[in-house]
């Protein structure tokens, strides 16, 4: 692959809200089509699709947990996904006793080879059934009761939880084969149809996921005004962090006041921080 000549994904003015990591093109197709994702750079190591307006990114990782981990890290790096972005691994999985076509959320993901165990995602038990997923290095026809078997979830979760919190990392799997239907019957058409049939349920999940992501954004995002203050004065790293922290408190106490009140007579970064401190000394707050 021509790594050296690859062009970066254009992320200007784009903030990803949902990052999909999907192993196969046939698994990705219904998502690409439904969310009107557009193929990005042709030279990318992994194919990446995007809907600018919705804030969706999708990467096709290829089969296996190393590919899933690598693609996750690659997408994070290329997109600059913020820590409030949700990460979703979607794909098919084998099961001994699961119904073909049923969608599950993996709430325990194990990797027996590496003895790793993860518990990803806020659980959406009202929308989807919860299950344990065992990630294997090879397709396995021998399956355990009540467990789904896949080849990506563990590698994906291991890496996605480095870029967003554990509760915003999700692995959703659709049963493609079970004790009554052999995995040899799986083909592109079938995969496409299995995923396509679950789009409505996935939409319901996405509504909830985006709500959580927004909550995290509110918590983590540096207020816009901070950037304005940074432009006006020189702040050391320590003072930058102080300003962010103190300004948040100030905004809670004075939601209707403008930051310009704190800045207009300041000559240095220290003055700005002192002005905030002065404003925050009144303890006699009215709780009622």
């Amino acid at each position: 692959m021509m790594v050296n000549n690859r062009s970066k994904v254009d992320v200007s003015n784009f903030e990803p809200t949902v990052c999909w990591v999907v192993a196969l093109k046939s698994e990705a197709k219904p998502i690409i089509s439904h969310f009107k994702l557009v193929h990005q750079s042709a030279n990318s190591i992994f194919p990446i699709y995007r809907n600018h307006k919705l804030g969706h990114l999708l990467i096709v990782s290829g089969v296996g947990q190393i590919n899933a981990a690598a693609a996750t890290a690659y997408l994070a790096s290329e997109s600059g996904a913020p820590p409030w972005a949700a990460w979703i691994n979607l794909g098919i999985a084998g099961s001994l006793d699961g119904d073909i076509g049923k969608l599950y959320q993996g709430v325990k993901v194990t990797n027996p080879t590496k003895e790793k165990v993860f518990f990803p995602g806020y659980r959406f038990s009202k929308i989807v059934s919860l299950v344990e997923i065992q990630t294997l290095d090879y397709p396995n026809s021998v399956k355990n009761n009540g467990v789904l078997h896949d080849m990506e979830a563990s590698g994906f979760v291991d890496f996605a939880t480095r870029f967003s919190c554990n509760e915003l990392v999700f692995s959703f799997k659709i049963v493609s084969d079970n004790s009554e239907q052999d995995m040899k019957l799986i083909d592109k058409m079938m995969v496409n149809s299995l995923i396509g049939d679950r789009l409505q349920q996935l939409e319901a999940l996405l509504d909830e996921i985006i709500t959580l992501s927004k909550l995290e954004k509110q918590r983590l995002q540096v207020p816009d005004e901070v950037e304005e203050v940074f432009k006006q004065f020189h702040f050391s790293v320590t003072r930058r962090n102080q300003l962010i922290h103190k300004l948040r408190k100030w905004k809670v106490q004075f939601p209707n006041r403008s930051i310009s009140d704190l800045v207009k007579e300041a000559k240095t970064a220290a003055d700005v921080i002192r002005n905030i401190d002065d404003a925050l000394t009144d303890m006699k707050f009215d709780w009622t």
Binding site: V107, F119, R123, L130, N166, E167, R219, Q253, M283, K284
Partner: protein
């Protein structure tokens, strides 16, 4: 209420596991090797998790009973605490548990009998000393009583040691087993209290102060020794008026003879814990108020702490003798 129960493989067949499981028939059951593999996991988001905590059933292997931190306790010479549960069904904004654990999931240790054995050993090892055992340091002692039956299980032990005190600390009003049972004279049911106006803002998901006072009234009438815990004391513009109103209501409703003890403590956090909690809830009014770092703790400062403590004591003097009032300030 609980959609998922993670169960340690070692306690899957434990009778208490079966009993708890039977109360959540629609929950998904997932087996785990050890509770820490989920509870201590990195990059968990306490705030999001708190919206829908899972239940973890586990076995505790050691440290069933620990000496209470210095400054935590009542009149006894020696104070101990134990935690059959980690985390709480309520979501009180000042609670230190949200800065202590990375997970909001509830852990219940099902091997109660091992706790009881070690409590008994501690009692025997400390001979004639006055002892108090505190339940409810890492959880609300009684909020999960309908599920665990913990209080009901432990009361017979303390009936055998009438000179040793046990405190259940709670905000729960679901106390049917206590309301209908015979009181145990050395078992104190201690309620965390603050003015209703503050509780409405801060004691999220917890019963209102009005309901707590109703429950206290019933338990007192039944003969249970009552503890009142004004901990933490929360500052506000009109805190004197708010706390005075609360005290008047309690004095009017709860007979003084029922009061075993009253304790109060300031709002105070170790520095790291304060930073963690404020990161979780940066928009929270409570943490936007000025608090300063003093000796590794973040608090209102000694002047405010003293003023609030003195006010409380002064207003309680006509209700209970001063010997029943204790200050609770956990030291490093």
């Amino acid at each position: 209420m609980i959609d998922t129960i993670f169960i340690e493989k070692g306690v899957v067949n434990h009778s208490r596991t079966q009993s708890i499981k039977s109360k959540f028939k629609n929950s998904t059951i997932i087996e785990v090797d050890r509770y820490q593999e989920i509870f201590n996991k990195r990059s968990q988001n306490f705030r999001i998790q708190k919206q829908n905590p899972a239940l973890i059933l586990a076995e505790k292997h050691d440290n069933f009973v620990l000496p209470a931190p210095s400054g935590f306790g009542l009149a006894s010479t020696r104070n101990f605490y134990f935690s059959h549960m980690y985390n709480c069904i309520y979501d009180c904004r000042y609670c230190f548990l949200q800065g202590m654990y990375s997970s909001a999931n509830y852990v219940i240790f099902v091997n109660f009998e091992d706790f009881f054995d070690e409590i008994e050993q501690s009692i025997q090892a400390n001979g004639a000393q006055d002892l108090t055992f505190f339940s409810g340091y890492d959880c609300d002692s009684l909020a999960f009583e309908n599920i665990t039956g913990f209080a009901e299980s432990i009361l017979p032990l303390f009936k055998s040691y009438p000179k040793v005190d046990l405190e259940f600390r709670t905000k729960s009003v679901q106390l049917e087993s206590l309301k209908s049972g015979f009181p145990t004279a050395n078992c104190i049911v201690a309620f965390s209290m603050m003015p209703e106006e503050l509780a409405k803002r801060l004691d999220k998901k917890a019963p209102s102060i009005k309901r707590r006072i109703n429950a206290i009234e019933k338990l007192a009438a039944r003969g249970w020794p009552i503890g009142l815990r004004f901990d933490p004391l929360i500052y506000s513009k009109d805190w004197k008026q708010l706390y005075k109103g609360l005290l008047m209501e309690i004095m009017h409703r709860v007979p003084r003879e029922a009061i075993h003890s009253i304790s109060h403590g300031p709002l105070r956090y170790p520095k790291k814990m304060y930073q963690d909690i404020t990161k979780l809830y940066p928009e929270e009014l409570l943490f936007s108020l000025p608090m300063s770092e003093n000796n590794g703790y973040v608090d209102y400062g000694v002047d405010v702490e003293n003023e609030m403590a003195e006010f409380l004591i002064k207003n309680l003097k006509n209700y209970v003798e001063e010997a029943k009032i204790f200050q609770c300030v956990v030291q490093a």
